[in-house]
Symmetry: C2
Subunit: 362 residues, 2 copies
């Protein structure tokens, strides 16, 4: 029943026959290699007409097998529930498209999912990989798997973390600068008890030491926060470091431990916008007002931050710029560029809105 009009797809041989030329000539013409008069104009149009008439589209698998180019780039993100990563993916796709490449976006929610996705790339499904999962800072499984790919010559670029390997260029946002500006802003507003909420195993105090040493982007927030506090003359209280689960739900769950700190912090700097939205909602449910009772600052700066009530003061990360540079770096790698750019840092900036209390509250 499904057969219907399932006329077989035309192949290059069909086009060649129809146009009365060889497959070679068809291939040359259809790939635009006939510019310099390598094929007579008349022959060219004959081939193009035949191809069109037969509805010919080259088989992607055959092209890949023969040319060893997939024209596909894999992009791994942690979660499409985070609008910042969606922006990154959309921008990456647009940038790659300009050079004829597709971007396969994979959301690798867990490290196992990421490892599985990286493994699949051994099958030659993509000409390169960009990882933006935030898991490439340690000696974890994801890093090992990426390295295995790189050793086989697959171009790789890391996007959020620092480079885990000399052969892998990295582009990251200036998290240090943005975090410092955020905390500094809260200090300037008079806050003296400022909490830092980051993704991680719940509990606080004990984890400070680990985070201090970790080369991750979450740890960057922590170090900048500590620095801003100390420069602001505030003694850090380890109970101010709250760790909890991912996203909106995770943000809400961090409210209880936050409110358990006595005396209560008057401000919270949250590692992501979705988590900050969760925090604001959790505070609301606990009967506290933002920013009057507790000021909140997020991280990310995507569209949604301007639409919450109160609107979110946040550290804006230029996702499109990171994507553009990342894609550019991939192509440089692909073309065997010798002079690889060292790790690149893109600027972040603090967007002041209502949730920090600098403007009139909601």
């Amino acid at each position: 029943m499904r057969q219907r009009g399932a006329r077989e797809r035309a192949t290059i041989a069909d086009v060649a026959r129809e146009a009365g030329v060889s497959k070679t000539t068809v291939s040359i013409v259809l790939n635009g290699l006939a510019a310099n008069g390598r094929v007579r104009a008349e022959t060219r149009t004959r081939i193009q007409t035949a191809a069109e008439q037969l509805g010919y589209t080259p088989s992607h698998a055959a092209q890949v097998l023969r040319s060893r180019r997939t024209m596909v780039l894999a992009l791994l993100v942690q979660s499409l529930a985070n609008p910042l990563l969606v922006d990154l993916a959309v921008a990456a796709r647009a940038a790659a498209e300009r050079r004829g490449y597709e971007v396969d976006v994979v959301d690798a929610r867990t490290e196992e999912a990421e490892v599985a996705a990286l493994r699949k790339l051994h099958a030659g499904r993509a000409d390169g990989v960009i990882v933006a999962t935030g898991r490439h800072f340690a000696r974890g499984a994801a890093v090992r798997e990426l390295r295995a790919l790189v050793e086989r010559g697959l171009p790789a670029v890391v996007l959020i973390d620092r480079s885990p390997d000399p052969a892998v260029p990295a582009i990251r946002a200036d998290i240090d600068g943005g975090s410092y500006a955020a905390v500094r802003h809260l200090l300037d507003l008079g806050h003296r008890r400022i909490a830092l909420l980051v993704l991680g195993a719940p509990g606080h105090g004990a984890s400070s030491a680990d985070l201090e040493a970790e080369p991750s982007s979450l740890a960057d927030r922590f170090r900048a926060y500590r620095r801003a506090l100390s420069e602001g003359g505030v003694t850090y209280d380890p109970r101010w470091l709250i760790r909890g689960p991912f996203g909106l739900v995770g943000g809400r769950e961090m409210v209880a431990p936050l409110l358990a700190v006595d005396p209560r912090p008057t401000a919270a700097f949250v590692y992501s916008d979705p988590a900050a939205i969760g925090v604001i909602r959790g505070l609301d449910e606990a009967g506290l007002r933002v920013p009057e009772d507790i000021a909140v600052v997020g991280f990310g700066g995507t569209e949604v931050a301007a639409f919450t009530r109160p609107s979110l003061t946040t550290v804006a990360v230029p996702a499109a710029e990171m994507a553009d540079i990342g894609i550019g770096t991939f192509f440089a790698l692909l073309e065997g560029e010798v002079e690889l750019p060292a790790d690149r840092l893109v600027e972040t900036r603090l967007i002041v809105r209502e949730s920090c209390g600098a403007q009139r509250g909601c």
Copy 2:
């Protein structure tokens, strides 16, 4: 420089040589076709050891070219900025994975982008396509392009719209029931002037007639709304139909025309959650409170609706269920199932929260 350890990838021939058998046997063993004792156990382990030692992964392109199966399914959505579509994509990926399939998620923001994405499928990049873009109700370019694919035997499933073609099964949410429940709920709360905000070219009144006849999912909202009003004894005022652009920004932009209606509507039923969030923000900026001054009901029911302030009363669409059924239908098509299920309707349900005013306001 990029060459580094670029030792050539092992092929099936390498494994065969290493294990001292033919490529045939390697293929049979590695594809799990040797279960019934078709290959001696000892030979099997020898092959597996060799494959592992060489780090062998079959070339995807070669497998596809030879077997004519890509093990990939394309999923087209309108925008990853809509969390409902992200949920759909994530669920589809999970469901497909259970049967060894990958899902290529493409966000086709415009109809041109959708047409381009569908065109690419002629190259045999996927074994089927699921379209969830909301553009398959008319005689538009997207529908034509999809039909061309189906005529070549590519299994296709439509997810949000009605089926555009007898050979294409469709799964959609009960938008009619959900919309009716939403408007009915507002009527029960005493509202008599209820606006309907939907995506579309701005302007109102004139577009009522078009929308009434359109077989789209947006028109389903309109028809159910009209029915609920009339059953509730309310005479529809064409000025209550407000159309505007997409997403958060679009929602905010619809506030001005909404407030321009005199007497002002006391409630608004909005076509999506992101748009509803934009509306709430826009009303806030206009100095109006939700739900006290204007009640708002959204559509979608993803996680974020529970985290806004006020939390959003919304029509919940079971994205995961739709994805599961959609994937199941794709596999039925693939296996040439003759008894194709007619269009399926999945239940929606109204989730009552704060933005409609039924509960204590924020």
